[in-house]
């Protein structure tokens, strides 16, 4: 087991490109614990860091708390103890609007995709840019290019109910990365796709990482993790073990 705080290194896939200048730590957890109500702590003494431009897998058995930890990272859940900083800011001291601004620097891919059924694939993917106040002309080409990149070039105007599980997965990933977040959280992003497509989606994450985004992929797909020589954060019985 290694000390917390190590960044990804040594991967033939992700280590070759030049990196942007490092900024302050993306995420810092110090002795973080979480319990629901008066129940036992589901997460205990979590202390780790996510550095800028790093790549890590978050893994562990089902029910270990991977999704819960991702929610803590996205600040849609508050810890019952400990310190969490996101982009250098203590989340317990920031206003709601400031939190929304922080969240705009974080992309998240959820297990259940959370696509809006009345919006087309194109509109779903462009939603983060739309809510950020950008006009459609400024991102039209960008969104179309990304959708082609994830293999949805012919599904731009399809509504989510007619998309397959894999297509929804890719649309959700595209939505998470379209705004070029500084931190990308993905909860089982390859859970609904075949191995070939899983590798292709992983390639997308790697490309994003090369552009300076820190990546956290929650998965228990060993084969997927073996494709990349990256840090592994293993959750077991509420505690985090860091394998760098």
């Amino acid at each position: 087991m290694k000390q917390p705080g190590g960044a990804v290194s040594g991967s033939p896939l992700i280590g070759g490109a030049s990196r942007p200048a490092r900024e302050d730590r993306v995420v810092r957890f110090e002795n973080v614990g979480l319990r629901y109500g008066l129940g036992p702590e589901v997460l205990r003494d979590l202390t780790f860091r996510i550095e800028p431009d790093s790549f890590q897998f978050l893994t562990g058995p089902s029910g270990a708390g991977k999704s819960t930890l991702l929610r803590l990272l996205f600040v849609s859940l508050r810890p019952t103890r400990g310190l969490i900083t996101l982009f250098g800011q203590d989340i317990s001291n920031v206003s709601r609007d400031a939190l929304a601004a922080l969240r705009r620097r974080v992309g998240i891919v959820l297990q259940d995709f959370r696509l809006l059924n009345h919006l087309t694939t194109y509109e779903n993917v462009s939603l983060p840019l739309r809510v950020a106040g950008r006009s459609e002309e400024t991102y039209r080409h960008e969104v179309a290019e990304l959708l082609h990149w994830v293999g949805l070039g012919d599904r731009l105007w399809a509504l989510p109910p007619v998309l397959s599980g894999g297509e929804k997965q890719r649309a959700a990933i595209a939505r998470a990365v379209i705004a070029r977040p500084k931190l990308l959280l993905a909860d089982e992003p390859t859970g609904n796709v075949d191995p070939a497509l899983a590798r292709r989606l992983l390639r997308l994450f790697i490309e994003l990482h090369k552009s300076g985004t820190s990546i956290v992929i929650a998965t228990h797909d060993i084969a997927l993790m073996d494709l990349v020589d990256a840090r592994r954060l293993v959750l077991h019985e509420g505690r985090l073990h860091d394998y760098d």
Binding site: A132, L146, W149
Partner: protein, 336 residues
């Protein structure tokens, strides 16, 4: 050099990086953008949802009922005011028979005095036969007034633009004609005023209850419609939308729904009053219409009634919008 969409700040134009990675993983390169999509137009909050249409129906029905109540209150208020002013625009001079005096001469004198008083628009002495007709319901026909000490009556109409000095007129009549008195209907007016105020207070009370029921119904219906939109709030939250942005999206949408439902309900109520007014005109002169007109006037709610209906539509739309805003804030609070 980075050339892929995720590698440059100004957009994605080439696939150089994709091809480099392709060599490593040996997968087919992504296809290039085939066409530029047109401008998007779909609102973030869906317009035609089942819950939204149901909300419009609820708002329309409740606004219709509230507007009918408001219009009825305006009608009752106007009718009560009309009764009151009709009685207040007349006074009566009563001349009791006095021994050894000519009643007809006294009536003529009193009429002359009243007619000469500023603020009096019309003086109409009742003749003997007309006085007999007034007593017919109690004493029957064929009455000989000469045999009875029946007072004579002069109906005096007051000018609308100037109030006469009734105290002075009362004093002059008493001095010049023994047995003459002036009745300004003060007792009737007070009773009328009390009755009108009671009717108006009752109507306003009913209207307040109906309006409260409308507001509560609309709040519950809006809350229900918002429940179906919770996934949208969550997604907007996940993509980093500000609270104000999310609240504004829903508030705008539900304000439109409220105005739409309110306009339908309020419009139907105004239409109902217009139809009633037309029917009243059509059946004018019949006994039933006379009774209705005596009670409710001409069924025209006028500008006041229209303003009340429009104000209700505005209030209900605002309640709908504010409820949606509060629900969004509550949902976001639960998410954070």
């Amino acid at each position: 050099m980075r050339a892929d969409w995720c590698c440059t700040r100004d957009g994605c134009t080439t696939m150089t990086e994709a091809r480099r990675v392709e060599k490593v993983i040996r997968e087919p390169p992504p296809e290039p953008a085939a066409r530029t999509p047109p401008r998007q137009a779909t609102p973030i909050v869906p317009i035609d949802s089942i819950a939204g249409n149901a909300l419009v129906a609820v708002i329309a029905i409740m606004t219709f009922l509230a507007s009918l109540t408001a219009g009825a209150v305006v009608l009752v208020g106007a009718a009560a005011s009309e009764w009151q002013s009709a009685v207040a625009r007349e006074v009566t001079i009563q001349i009791r028979p006095t021994p050894r005096r000519d009643a007809d001469a006294d009536v003529a004198t009193a009429a002359a005095i009243a007619g000469a008083t500023p603020g009096i628009s019309d003086v109409r002495p009742y003749t003997r036969s007309e006085s007999a007709a007034l007593l017919e319901p109690w004493l029957g026909t064929g009455l000989l007034l000469d045999d009875l000490p029946v007072p004579r009556v002069i109906v005096v109409k007051l000018a609308s633009d100037r109030m006469p000095d009734l105290n002075s007129l009362r004093r002059v009549l008493a001095e010049r004609i023994p047995g003459a008195s002036l009745d300004d209907h003060r007792g009737w007016i007070d009773r009328m005023r009390g009755m009108a105020n009671s009717a108006l207070a009752l109507g306003v009370g009913v209207m307040a209850l109906v309006l409260a029921a409308t507001v509560l119904s609309v709040m519950f219906a809006t809350h229900g419609a918002m429940a179906t939109n919770r996934p949208i709030v969550e997604v907007l939250h996940f993509v980093g939308a500000r609270r104000a942005f999310i609240a504004a999206e829903f508030q705008r949408h539900f304000l439109v729904l409220g105005l739409k439902g309110g306009a339908i309900g309020g419009g139907m109520a105004l239409l109902a009053f217009a139809v009633a007014h037309l029917l009243g005109s059509y059946f004018r002169g019949t006994a039933g219409e006379d009774q209705m007109e005596a009670l409710f006037g001409s069924f025209s709610i006028g500008l006041t009634g229209c303003a009340a209906v429009i104000a209700q539509v505005g209030i209900i739309a605002l309640v709908t919008a504010l409820t949606s805003r509060l629900t969004v804030q509550h949902t976001l609070k639960a998410l954070e």
